[in-house]
């Protein structure tokens, strides 16, 4: 093989990722919230939902994130080495609207996404889920209904 072909092959084998980091973004509305949540979660509250699932083909690493962001606060959950699903545990990090910096753990109590798996062909998705310990408040377990869009 001559030098030119070898060089060409070398350059071609240094491939860029198929896609830069991918996340679906949309809205999550609270459909149920126990009274222990207080003002932190009430039925009818809206949050921006950003779901960044694990996956090399998505340009993401092996960890999945789901963030719920409001006008003045956020609550972000990390499921390491897995995707979000019923029964899995997450670790959270959040900043409250009073600028408390916090962290916690909890479980995904229920998870129903349609389609069930997201890939780059999924331009929009629906999601119904509930979690434990929203904003690390023990037994504040709200339920959400969410829509997600692939913006790129």
């Amino acid at each position: 093989m001559n030098t030119r072909v070898t060089l060409l092959l070398l350059v071609c084998s240094i491939s860029a990722p198929l896609h830069a980091e991918t996340a679906w973004i949309g809205t999550a509305m609270i459909t149920q919230a126990p009274s222990i949540c207080g003002n932190t979660a009430q039925v009818g509250d809206f949050h921006t939902a950003i779901y960044r699932p694990a996956g090399v083909t998505l340009g993401n690493d092996a960890d999945s994130y789901l963030a719920l962001i409001s006008q003045r606060a956020y609550f972000s959950m990390l499921v390491p080495n897995n995707t979000f699903r019923s029964g899995i545990n997450y670790g959270s990090s959040f900043v409250s609207s009073l600028l408390k910096f916090g962290s916690g753990t909890g479980g995904i109590l229920s998870w129903s996404m349609s389609p069930a798996t997201l890939d780059l062909n999924v331009k929009s998705a629906k999601l119904v889920f509930s979690i434990a310990n929203f904003y690390a408040i023990k037994n504040c377990n709200p339920s959400f209904r969410a829509t997600l869009l692939l913006p790129d």
């Binding site: 996340a23 950003i50 962001i69 006008q71 003045r72 956020y74 990090s93 600028l99």
Partner: protein, 164 residues
Amino acid sequence: MNTAARLAVLSCLSAMPIASRAVTLIVWQGDAAITAASLPCSSNANERSNVRIGDVLRSVVRPALLADNGNDSRVAFIKSAHAEFALDLAGGLTIAGPGTYSAYGVTSQGRFRTNVGGTYQNFSLKPATPGLTDAFLTLTGTVNDFMFIPNCTVSFRAAYVLRP
């Protein structure tokens, strides 16, 4: 009071939970307009991460040493309910600088960041030591690595109202 009664009172008292005082945090909430932004601020592949002159972000400020606010001042910037950048300011809200901050937040891709170090300068809060009778605050300043974007330096002008 006889012994039985004394014991009854004592055991009743020890069964009662220790009352906890509610924590009172005082914040002002408003907006920060971006008045200057270096090129890396708007050079991200993901458009939702970009910050440009003229952007207006929601902002919350929590001055130190007021009620239970603690020893450090904090300020947060929230971009369109898509991303947040919240700072624990070691040098306070009025400093020529540079001061150091510790940042907590979430990126526009949903990933959270904790305890990320950076610097800020030329912060000026008015009034400099606000209290509960100050319904309005203003803040100007310059922040480096804004919104966790490396080498993104922004200057901003912010105005706030006291949250009841």
